[in-house]
Amino acid sequence: MRDGKPPAERIPILKMGEFLLVTIQVEMHDRLVMGLQDELTQQIVQHRARGVLIDISALEIVDSFIGRALGNIAKMARVLDAETVVVGMQPAVAITLVELGLNLEGVRTALNAEKGMALMRRGFDAR
């Protein structure tokens, strides 16, 4: 890893109370999403997070790998007792995922980050 290659790109994960915030602002590629998966699971455990909000409003292209990885991240979070909310999906991305047969069952969704936060807060009050 360290033999002359530039340091790997990372997607920042922000901690806000008992939630983790992930904003995907760059084009996703396979290595990036695997890195995110690694780091997010670590941080959920480390901060004992109850919810993860992933904002993909800047994401314009998805393929089956990225789509499946998103679903997997949600499942992993669930195992670690954290709810995942995916927010801000673009229509084109939604259509692509559906056509690929990736309905992201079990992942909660919201139109934007604000509604996603409200959804998570409501969810935790009900617990």
Binding site: M89, A94, I95, V98, E99, N103, K115
Partner: protein, 284 residues
């Protein structure tokens, strides 16, 4: 070669009125009363243009510039007839029936010259066949244009997305759902969800005549895509017949909320967004 072809043009020119008289009486037998005058007018124009075109260009190549007027006239005639609903055979027969009076004249002209008659008949037949086929092609093209236009109109007309309430959208679907239309519905619905920030979309299928597995699959895709974006879908307008079909086909609508009427769906939607409807004394 040139000699005998110029004679066909000459015959057409000299005998125009006689050929025309015979032709129109022939056409009168087949055409109905109302369009008889119109048919006669068309016959007159056709005979005149044919004589003119033959005089300028006797090769019989109807793509040439000398035949431009003839082509225009036939295009107009064929398109008009296509719109009136006559069959392509009827339109082509109109042209082909010109052969009978023309061949009668040729027989008179070439009474003693069998070879000349054969040659001349062949030239005339080829020419008229080409013209007849040309009308058929135009007819077909006109119909195709018409179908294409109607298809586009239908696509646009039948996919409105309306706002019922703040945060509640409705898509009243009318007509059969195929892949193309589902795509249009899906795209316009998702775009409206983004634009308006609506959290609930009601898909009303009162106007969808039949629901088979494919249509159900299309509906479910739309619902799934809307869900991915964070909006919930309610399917309403399910008629008893459709409900039976859905169950018989073994279609699984999964966790999608379904309601019999749009009104029920609206009440459900209002409940989900936390709005209540109360009844007060009616005002005049």
């Amino acid at each position: 070669m040139v000699d005998h072809q110029s004679r066909l043009a000459a015959i057409l020119r000299d005998q125009e009125s006689r050929i025309l008289a015979e032709w129109t009486s022939l056409l009168a037998k087949t055409s109905r009363g109302a369009d008889r005058a119109e048919t006669e007018e068309q016959a007159r124009t056709f005979a005149r243009l044919l004589a003119q075109a033959m005089a300028q260009d006797a090769t019989g190549e109807i793509d040439g510039p000398a035949w431009a007027k003839m082509r225009d006239m036939l295009t107009g005639l064929s398109a008009a007839r296509a719109r009136q609903g006559s069959t392509p055979s009827e339109t082509a027969t109109f042209i082909f029936s010109f052969k009978e009076p023309l061949f009668a004249r040729l027989r008179e002209e070439y009474r003693s010259d069998g070879e000349g008659l054969g040659r001349e008949s062949w030239t005339a037949t080829r020419l008229l066949d080409k013209l007849g086929l040309f009308t058929t092609e135009v007819y077909q093209r006109t119909r195709e244009d018409m179908i294409e236009r109607q298809r586009r109109d239908l696509l646009e007309l039948s996919t409105p997305v309306v706002a019922l309430w703040e945060g509640v959208l409705a898509v009243p679907l009318i007509g059969t759902l195929d892949s193309d239309r589902t795509q249009v519905v899906m795209e316009s619905l998702l775009q409206r969800i983004v634009d308006s920030g609506a959290s609930i979309a009601i898909i009303d299928i009162t106007g969808v005549p039949t629901v088979d597995t494919l249509v159900a699959q299309h509906l479910l895709k739309t619902v799934a895509a809307a869900r991915l974006m964070g909006a919930e879908c309610i399917i309403s307008g399910i008629r008893p017949q459709i409900a039976q079909t859905i169950v018989h086909l073994g279609v699984d609508l999964g966790s999608v909320a379904t309601k019999a009427t749009l009104a029920d769906a609206l009440i459900l939607a209002l409940g989900r967004i936390g709005a209540t409807v109360t009844r007060s004394a009616p005002r005049a």
